[in-house]
Amino acid sequence: MSSTETEFRDLQSAATSHRGDRVFNRTITGAAFTALVVLAGITVFLGLQAIPVLQTQGLDFLTTSIWSPPDYGIWGMLYGSVLLSVVALVIAVPASLLLSVFMVFLAPTWVAKVLTNLVDLMAAIPSVILGLWAFYILSPVSEEWQQLLNQYLGWIPFFQNESGNFSGTPFTAGFVLAIMMIPIVTSVTREVLGRTPPELINAAEALGCSLWTMLRYVALPYGRGGLIGGVMLGLGRALGETIAVFFVLKIVFDPVNYYNVIESGGGSVATLIVAKFGEASGPYETQLLLAAGFFLFMMTLLVNVIANLIVNRTGRLQK
């Protein structure tokens, strides 16, 4: 070991052995683990409520769709959350990708700057306000769209509607979720596409690539991880969204609405919790809602962890 290295070691140990520093280090380290404590706390305390529910209801709690005492099952809600997210993804992913392509490759710099600010502003709109807007402004318009969809494309199974009632549909709720997702996904995809190395773009252009070929063979493959991660971050948000969906979705347990997105009635775990909390008739129903919250938490945690692993692997956050 060289002498400078030893000297450095000595200095370092001298520095950390300073009493103020030790106290400081411990305080900061303790605070840094708040996130872990909270996550563990949520898992443990909501999990503790889920155990008795699973004991009394059995696995039927997860596989049946019913909410009438004494039988409870949230399958329809779990499935509904996924269905809403799929509708939201179908709308939001192309829109966000195209929006970020416009901002990164097509728009003049000042337009891109203004758009970035507007997208951030869109992300800042509270979900309760979007819900209010969706209830009074979007819903009537959306009903008209859905009638037309049913009229012209009713032969596609997704656009069947037998009740003639187009309010409270998964389509409208998914549309609101899409509006919430667009700014979240766009802010990631814009950054990812903006990081395509100029050398690669120049090379593609020197080989005679058009914009489309450049996107298809350079920008999209280069940013693939980040793009997928961004979409999944948005998905995590959509799965956990409560209030905006509450105003525009009619919650139905049975029958489960599997794919008729423009048929009235659907489900969402997060919305179920808020909808049933006010009328919960006793500690047992509250416990059921806590258990539902536990499974919602597990679902979003899984999506979010995968999303972050993908995003981190592509180095977006390691600046």
């Binding site: 520095a15 103020g20 520093d21 106290v23 280090n25 900061i28 380290t29 605070a31 840094a32 708040t34 996130a35 909270v38 996550l39 949520i42 305390f45 909501l46 829109a95 195209l98 929006l99 392509v101 416009f102 097509l106 600010n117 507007l118 997208v119 502003l121 869109m122 800042a124 709109i125 979900s127 309760v128 306000i129 807007w133 209830f135 402004i137 008209e144 509006i179 667009i182 766009t186 773009i201 120049n202 252009e205 058009s210 914009l211 489309w212 070929t213 956990g240 105003f247 997060a270 919790i273 808020v274 909390f277 500690p283 809602l289 919250g293 919602l296 979003t300 999506v303 979010n304 972050n308």
Partner: protein, 361 residues
């Protein structure tokens, strides 16, 4: 020509930093005419159909305007650049379409909030509370005063808890640099994905159902803090990273301890950034409704004691007034939405001001 000119370093450097040339961006006079025609002709046809036929408007836009505009753009692109740019035209039309779509949604939301919210706005609405007010009471009486106070109290409590913890988490990652840094970052990221309703349920089960707390501003503040902490920590981390390494080594070389270096040099250097992080955290939670429905309930009175009783805030006030059969209640909801949006807009502007003024960026 001497060799020094060939290897002119500034030229080499400028080549290295050269921005992509974007050949699809070059323009000529005929280019402009053709593009203008390609934009104008479909628009004119569709405007004609819009006024003189009764085709349903959404159908006209999706089945009429979109294909027409795509066709026109493809024809123009092929005429200007040859066959291989046909797909570029599709991308450009769709990209502009997606941008316009997002802007229409944003404008629709903001426009409806402002126009409908202004119907409710008055000094009485901003300062009075909801006591003795029923949904059918005319607009001149009652307001969101208590809800504004509630929002400020709840958000203030959560900021008092989450901002120090968030900044300390960031300091751990960038300054203390312990062995657990990757894990801490991972947990903070995972925490940012906790749905707001789950944060509310957590506080409900641990503190309220166990009898430790009432449904109150403090309980709601704790739920908000769970949502606020990751935002503060992640922003503060990025800001602390921007503090030049020389400041740290310089302070250490002058004999400062690690703790003093962080507290007296690094944190003050990143002050504006840390304020931005706090504001972003506040903006993240200020409109959250679900945790309040579980942990704060509602109250028509103005409540200042954060422990004593349930409390209303702007989001819960909106929630209570939406879908009421009374038009005045609905207008109150829009008024509260405008009040909330103004608060959000102020926070939004503050972050822009701080981030453009500070040493960051």
């Amino acid at each position: 020509m001497s060799t020094t000119q060939v290897f002119d370093e500034s030229r080499v450097a400028s080549l290295a930093e050269q921005r992509p040339q974007a050949p699809w961006g070059t323009r000529t006079a005929s280019f402009r005419t053709i593009v203008i025609l390609a934009v104008f002709i479909p628009a004119a046809i569709v405007t004609g159909l819009w006024w003189y036929t009764d085709i349903a408007k959404p159908v006209l836009m999706v089945a009429g305007y979109l294909p027409l505009q795509l066709a026109a753009a493809i024809v123009a692109a092929v005429a200007l650049r040859g066959k291989k740019s046909a797909f570029d035209a599709v991308i450009i039309v769709l990209a502009i379409g997606a941008t316009v779509f997002s802007l229409v949604v944003l404008v629709s939301v903001l426009w409806s909030i402002v126009t409908k919210g202004l119907e409710a706005m008055s000094t009485a609405f901003l300062f009075q509370n909801n006591e003795y007010i029923s949904p059918s009471t005319p607009l001149g009486y009652g307001g969101v005063g208590h809800a504004v106070v509630g929002t400020v109290v709840i958000v203030g409590i959560s900021a008092l808890i989450a901002v120090p913890l968030g900044v300390m988490t960031a300091i751990y990652i960038t300054e203390v640099r312990g062995r657990a840094v990757p894990y801490v970052r991972f947990f903070v990221q995972a925490m940012s994905g906790v749905p707001s309703v789950v944060a509310g349920l957590f506080i409900l089960t641990v503190l309220i159902l166990s009898g430790a707390l009432n449904q109150s501003a403090f309980a709601a503040g704790l739920a908000y803090a769970i949502l606020m902490l990751p935002t503060v920590a992640r922003t503060a981390e990025e800001v602390l990273r921007l503090v030049p390494e020389e400041l740290r080594t310089g302070a250490l070389a002058l004999g400062s301890t690690r703790a003093k270096t962080v507290l007296r040099v690094v944190v003050p250097a990143a002050k504006t950034g840390i304020i931005t992080a706090a504001i972003l955290g506040v903006a993240r939670v200020v409109g959250e409704t679900a945790p309040l429905l579980l942990t704060a309930l509602k109250n028509d009175k103005t409540v200042l004691n954060p422990f004593a009783e349930p409390i209303s805030a702007l989001p819960t006030y909106i929630f209570d007034n939406v879908a009421q059969p009374y038009p005045d209640a609905v207008i109150r909801a829009w008024g509260a939405a405008l009040t909330l949006m103004i608060i959000v807009a102020i926070l939004f502007t503050l972050t822009r001001l701080f981030s453009s003024r500070g040493p960051s960026k």
